[in-house]
C-alpha cells in the first residue's frame, strides 16, 4: 500500500513552533516523522513578513522564549543558522514623563530604579520578588510538566526527573495566589502606579481577564515559573521570528523529519477507532500509527472526523473552552528611530510596556468587555531594528501587542474600526515619543480576526485559548484531554491549546513528545 521510503511512524499536523519542535524531538528518538503544513511557509504565528518594501518585521509573535536551556541544547538551533540579535531582553515600564523603571531581573538594579519613585517600593521589591520566586518554584513542576504528574515522562526517559519543587500541597501563601487578584497583591506591596501597572499588565497579558479578577496572581507566578530554566530569557532572532522558524525547520530536517508544505489536512483517517493517518485536501492519504496535531484542539477534534470517536460528554465540554482573541498586533515602518522621553537610545532594544497603572489596564478591559477598545489602550512594544539591522536598512520597524482588543465589536465592523484603533495606538505612542507618529511610513493592524486567519487558529487567540485558571493544567483544553493524549488512540495534541498555553516556549511540544513516546511504551 505504501512504499517503504514514504512510510512514517508519526505525522505532525502544522509546522508552527510546537509542531516542528515536537517533530524534531520524536525524530531524535528515531521515529520516522512527517510534518504536514497547510500553508506555503512554515511558522504559524512565528513568521517574518514584509510590511512594506525594505521593512520586514515579525508578523505576530515578536519575542521568542523564554526557552528552556535543556530543550535549546537538544535542538541545537545555533548549528542550524539561528543567530540572536538580542537576548535576555529586559522589561521597561515606560512613563510618559520619562521616569521609566527598568525591570531586568537584578534585585539591586530594580531597587535603585524604584527608589526614584518611592523608597518604600524600593524596599518592598525584594519581598515581592521573593514571594513570586517562591510561588514559581512551587508551581514549576505543575507549569512545566504534563498535567497530572510526570510519572510517565520519567518512564519514557525524556526529561524525566526534572521536577524541582517538593512534593505535596502548596504552601498556604502560594495557595492564596489561586484566589488572589494580581491587583490586590500589588496594592498590598507597592505604591507606585507605574510599577503596579507594568507588573499587572505582564500577569494578565493575553487573558481576557481584568487585573482584579481572582486567580490572576497565579498567572504572574506561572510566567515566572516558565522562565525558571532559561539562560537566555526573551530573545530576538536575527531576521525576526521567521528566522527562528527557519532554524527550527532546518533542525527538524537535520533530524530526519520530512516537511510537506501546501498540504492541508481534510480529515483524519481511522482504523477501527484508532487514528491511522491523514487525508489531505488533494485527496492524498498519508498513513501513520501516530498523529500529533499542533492545531487548536477544537479544529483537531471536531473538524477532522475525530468527533465520531470521542466520548459523548467531551464534545460538549470542548464548547466551554474560550478561544476568542483579545490582543491585536500593530507593525509600523518608521523613517528613523524616534526618541522616547527620558530614555537612552540603547535601551530601546528592550521590551517596553506602555501601561501607566492598574487603572489604565482596567479602563482598557472595561472597553473590551463592552465590545469595544479603549481610546487609550495598553501595549507592549519592541523596536527590533535597534539591534537587528537586517530588518530595515537604515530605517526602523516597531512592533506592538495591543491589549484588550475584542474579536467582535459590539457595533460596527473591524474594516472601519482598524483605522480608529491605529489612531488610538498612535495617540498613546505620541505620549511617550512625540515625534513618532510623524515618522510612520507604513502600518499594519492585525486584529484577532486576522490572527485567526494568519496563524490558522480558531478564535485568533494569542495563547491558543484564554489563559486563566479554569483553562490550564488538567482543564486545558478540557477535562479528560489535558495530557496531550486524546481518547482516540494514536491521536495527540501539542499546540498552544494544551497546557501551559502559548508563548514561544516549546513546553507543549516537549511534553507532547514525551507523552507520545510513553504511549508507545504502554502499547
Amino acid at each position: 500500500m505504501r512504499s517503504a521510503s514514504q512510510a512514517s511512524d508519526v505525522i505532525v499536523i502544522g509546522a508552527g513552533v510546537n509542531g516542528l519542535i515536537c517533530a524534531t524531538l520524536l525524530a531524535q528518538a528515531r521515529r520516522r516523522v512527517t510534518v504536514v503544513e497547510a500553508e506555503a511557509h512554515a511558522g504559524g504565528a512565528c513568521k517574518t513578513i514584509e510590511l512594506v518594501a525594505g521593512h520586514r518585521v515579525s508578523g505576530l509573535a515578536h519575542l521568542i522564549g523564554p526557552l528552556d536551556a535543556q530543550l535549546m541544547k537538544s535542538l541545537r538551533l545555533h548549528r542550524f543558522g539561528l543567530t540572536l540579535s538580542a537576548k535576555n531582553i529586559s522589561t521597561i515600564a515606560m512613563s510618559p514623563d520619562g521616569r521609566h523603571i527598568t525591570l531586568d531581573g537584578d534585585l539591586r538594579h530594580t531597587a535603585q530604579a524604584l527608589a526614584v519613585h518611592s523608597q518604600a517600593d524600593a524596599k518592598a521589591w525584594s519581598h515581592y520578588d521573593g514571594r513570586l520566586r517562591k510561588a514559581a518554584q512551587q508551581i514549576e513542576r505543575w507549569v512545566q510538566g504534563v498535567p497530572g504528574g510526570a510519572a510517565e515522562q520519567a518512564k519514557a526517559g525524556l526529561f524525566g526527573g526534572r521536577a524541582t519543587s517538593k512534593n505535596g500541597a502548596l504552601d498556604a501563601e502560594v495557595a492564596s495566589f489561586i484566589d488572589a487578584s494580581i491587583a490586590e497583591v500589588l496594592d498590598a506591596e507597592f505604591e507606585t502606579p507605574l510599577l503596579k501597572g507594568a507588573l499587572a499588565f505582564d500577569a494578565v497579558l493575553g487573558s481576557a481577564l481584568p487585573p482584579r479578577a481572582r486567580g490572576t496572581a497565579l498567572l504572574a507566578a506561572m510566567r515566572r515559573a516558565i522562565n525558571a530554566d532559561t539562560t537566555e530569557g526573551y530573545v530576538h532572532p536575527q531576521g525576526g521570528a521567521g528566522a527562528f522558524t527557519s532554524a527550527l525547520l532546518k533542525a527538524a530536517e537535520g533530524a530526519g523529519v520530512r516537511v510537506k508544505l501546501n498540504a492541508r489536512v481534510r480529515h483524519l483517517l481511522f482504523d477501527n477507532g484508532r487514528v491511522a493517518g491523514v487525508e489531505l485536501q488533494t485527496g492524498e492519504a498519508m498513513h501513520a500509527a501516530t498523529v500529533v496535531s499542533s492545531l487548536d484542539p477544537k479544529t483537531t477534534l471536531l473538524q477532522f472526523g475525530a468527533s465520531r470517536h470521542l466520548p459523548l460528554a467531551m464534545k460538549r465540554r470542548l464548547n466551554g473552552f474560550r478561544v476568542e482573541g483579545c490582543t491585536a498586533k500593530v507593525n509600523l515602518a518608521l523613517a528613523g528611530l524616534p526618541s522616547f522621553k527620558g530614555i537612552d537610545k540603547r535601551l530601546l532594544k528592550e521590551r517596553l510596556i506602555l501601561c501607566t497603572g492598574i487603572d489604565q489596564l482596567e479602563r482598557s478591559f472595561a472597553a473590551y468587555e463592552q465590545g469595544s477598545f479603549s481610546p487609550d489602550p495598553v501595549m507592549e512594544i519592541t523596536i527590533p531594528s535597534t539591534h537587528d539591522t537586517t530588518l530595515s536598512a537604515g530605517q526602523h520597524v516597531l512592533s506592538a501587542h495591543v491589549f484588550y482588543v475584542p474579536k467582535n465589536l459590539a457595533s460596527g465592523s473591524w474594516d472601519k474600526a482598524k483605522a480608529n484603533l491605529m489612531s488610538c495606538v498612535g495617540g498613546v505612542l505620541r505620549q511617550y515619543a512625540p515625534e513618532l507618529p510623524d515618522m510612520i511610513l507604513a502600518a499594519d493592524v492585525f486584529v484577532p480576526r486576522d490572527i485567526e486567519a494568519m496563524a490558522g487558529t480558531v478564535g485568533g487567540h494569542w495563547h491558543g485559548g484564554d489563559l486563566s485558571l479554569d483553562q490550564l493544567g488538567l482543564m486545558r483544553p478540557a477535562v479528560g484531554l489535558s495530557r496531550y493524549e486524546t481518547p482516540v488512540p494514536g491521536l495527540f495534541l501539542c499546540g498552544a491549546g494544551t497546557h501551559p498555553a502559548g508563548g514561544i516556549t516549546g513546553i507543549n511540544a516537549r511534553n507532547a513528545a514525551s507523552v507520545v513516546l510513553a504511549a508507545e511504551v504502554r502499547a
Binding site: 502548596l170 484566589d179 464548547n319 466551554g320 479602563r363 459590539a410 477535562v479
Partner: protein
C-alpha cells in the same frame, strides 16, 4: 436566669446572633443575647425570609414551630419571551422546552451537578493542583471554573444561561467569565430549586416567624436568656482577652466568650480596655452590593409571558439576562461607570393592606461604590433610580406611572456604616443574599481577639450558618462534643 456564670454573651438578636445563641444553648452552655431594640420580633416586616437548611436540621427548628413555603419561581424576560424556572422540576423543564428542547432535558442533570458541587471538597485547590490526580471532583471543577464556562457546557439557550448567571453573580463584583466564579452557582440561595436539602428554606410567615421560632427555642432552654433594650457599650477585656460585655446602663455580663454580630469596625471600637493596640481588622472591601431600590407600586407591570399571579407570588424576575449583557455591565463596573443596559433583579411583594399595592424590590448588580463622576450624591442616586425604572418601562410601557413611592437602599452614603445584623435582615427580606460579600475563603466568623468572635454573613455560608460557625469558633460547642 438561674445560672451564676455565663459561658457566652451574644451582642445583637439578628438571625445570625440568635442562631449562634441557640447553638450554644442546645450544647448546654449558659448564654445571654443582648439586643438594643425593645422587641426583636417587631423587626421582621418582610413577607418572607430564608434560612439555611443546614441550620434548620442542626437546631431542629421545625419542632419549634418553623414551617416552610415553596421557593419562588425565577423568571427571565427577554423581548417577547419569558422563561420561568418553577420550583417544580418538570414545570421548569416545560418552560425551557418552549425555547430549547435540548436544554429542558439537560436541566435535571445540571441540578444534580450543582447539588454534588455544593458538597464541600475536603481537598484544597492548592493541594489538587499540586497532586497527580487526573480528574477533579465536581466541587473542585466548580471551585476553579467560571460561571460562563459551566453554563456554556450545560446549555445552549442564552436566556437560560443569563438567568442562572445573574443569580450567581448578584452581590459580588465578579464577572461571569472570571475563573473560580463557578462556585457562586452553588450558593445556598440558588440551591432552593436544585437541591432543597442543601439550600435555603423559605420560611412561611417571613422574618417574624423565623425570629419567633429562634426565640421559642431559646426560651425552651433555661440556660439561655435574651435581654431586650440592652445596648452593649463596651467589650470588657482581661489579660488581653475578651471577658464580657458592659451595657450602657452599667450592668456587666461576664463571660469567657463574646460573639458580636455588629460590624467588625464597631466591635473593634468597643474594645476600650486593651493595653496593646486594638487588633487590626480586615481592610475595607470594595462595595460589591447591588444598588437596591424599593418601589411601592399601584399596578403590576405587564411583562410578556408572565401572568400577574406569578409576579405576585414572590417571583424573582430578571430583565434581559444574558452572559453578554452581564459581561458588558461588569466592564462598565471595572471602568467605574454605569452600564448602558442594566441587569435588573425584580421581586414583587404584596403589601398587607386593602388596596392592591405591591412593594417592588429592584436590585442592580455591578454598581461601583464610587464612579468616575464622584461618590453617590442624592442627585446621582436619583439618576440611577431613573435608569432602573426606565429599563422596566422599556419592557412594560407605562410602568413608571404606577410608582407611588421609592426608597433607595443602596448604594450607601459614603460614611454610613453597615450594621451586619441589619444586613442579614435585609438579605432575608429580599430572599436573596444581596448583602453578601465575596470573601471566599476568609473565615465567615472571625476571631478578632481571644474570646471575641465577630459574625459576618457571607454568601458562601447560608443564612444562619455563620451563627453556627461562630458558636463553634468560640470552641465551646466543640469542647462539649469532645467531653
Amino acid at each position: 436566669m438561674a445560672v451564676d456564670r455565663l459561658d457566652a454573651v451574644v451582642i445583637g438578636a439578628s438571625v445570625e446572633g440568635l442562631v449562634a445563641a441557640a447553638a450554644l444553648a442546645t450544647a448546654g452552655r449558659a448564654v445571654t443575647v443582648v439586643e438594643r431594640r425593645a422587641d426583636a420580633t417587631a423587626l421582621g416586616e418582610g413577607a418572607d425570609a430564608v434560612i439555611s437548611a443546614g441550620v434548620v436540621r442542626e437546631l431542629d427548628l421545625t419542632s419549634h414551630g418553623l414551617r416552610f413555603a415553596a421557593a419562588p419561581p425565577i423568571v427571565g424576560v427577554s423581548g417577547e419571551r419569558a422563561l420561568i424556572l418553577w420550583p417544580e422540576l418538570h414545570a421548569a423543564q416545560a418552560s425551557i422546552a418552549a425555547l430549547s428542547g435540548r436544554d429542558a432535558e439537560a436541566l435535571q442533570g445540571f441540578y444534580v451537578r450543582l447539588a454534588r458541587a455544593a458538597t464541600p471538597d475536603e481537598q484544597s485547590a492548592g493541594a489538587w493542583l499540586a497532586s497527580a490526580q487526573a480528574e477533579p471532583s465536581e466541587a473542585m471543577l466548580f471551585r476553579l471554573t467560571s460561571v460562563a464556562r459551566l453554563l456554556d457546557e450545560a446549555f445552549d439557550n442564552e436566556l437560560l444561561k443569563g438567568l442562572l448567571a445573574q443569580g450567581a453573580i448578584l452581590g459580588t463584583g465578579a464577572s461571569p467569565y472570571a475563573p473560580a466564579s463557578g462556585q457562586l452557582l452553588t450558593r445556598q440561595s440558588l440551591l432552593a430549586h436544585a437541591a432543597p436539602e442543601a439550600g435555603h428554606r423559605f420560611v412561611a410567615g417571613g422574618e417574624r416567624r423565623l425570629r419567633q421560632a429562634l426565640l421559642a427555642l431559646l426560651k425552651f432552654y433555661n440556660n439561655a436568656d435574651v435581654m431586650f433594650g440592652a445596648e452593649a457599650k463596651e467589650i470588657a477585656t482581661e489579660r488581653e482577652a475578651a471577658s464580657g460585655v458592659v451595657l450602657t446602663d452599667g450592668q456587666v455580663l461576664r463571660a469567657p466568650l463574646v460573639i458580636s454580630t455588629l460590624a467588625q469596625e464597631r466591635a473593634g471600637a468597643m474594645l476600650t480596655g486593651l493595653k496593646r493596640a486594638r487588633p487590626a481588622h480586615l481592610p475595607p472591601r470594595a462595595s460589591v452590593e447591588p444598588a437596591q431600590v424599593k418601589l411601592t407600586i399601584g399596578a403590576l407591570p405587564k411583562l410578556p409571558g408572565v401572568d400577574a399571579a406569578t409576579l405576585a407570588s414572590g417571583a424573582i424576575v430578571r430583565l434581559n439576562p444574558s452572559l453578554a449583557r452581564l459581561a458588558a455591565a461588569h466592564g462598565a463596573f471595572c471602568g467605574l461607570s454605569l452600564p448602558m443596559q442594566p441587569c435588573l433583579d425584580l421581586r414583587f411583594v404584596p403589601r398587607a393592606e386593602a388596596k392592591a399595592r405591591w412593594d417592588l424590590h429592584v436590585a442592580m448588580p455591578y454598581v461601583p461604590a464610587t464612579t468616575t463622576e464622584g461618590p453617590w450624591s442624592a442627585a446621582r442616586r436619583d439618576k440611577l433610580r431613573g435608569l432602573m425604572v426606565r429599563a422596566i418601562d422599556e419592557l412594560s410601557a407605562g410602568f413608571g406611572a404606577s410608582i407611588e413611592s421609592a426608597e433607595m437602599r443602596n448604594p450607601p452614603e459614603a460614611d454610613s456604616l453597615l450594621d451586619i445584623g441589619a444586613a442579614a435582615l435585609m438579605a432575608s427580606q429580599a430572599a436573596l443574599d444581596q448583602t453578601a460579600v465575596p470573601e471566599a475563603h476568609g473565615p465567615a466568623a472571625l476571631s478578632l481577639l481571644k474570646g471575641l468572635t465577630v459574625v459576618e454573613p457571607t454568601f458562601y455560608g447560608g443564612i444562619g450558618d455563620v451563627g453556627l460557625q461562630a458558636a463553634a469558633t468560640g470552641s465551646l460547642v466543640k469542647a462539649r462534643a469532645d467531653a
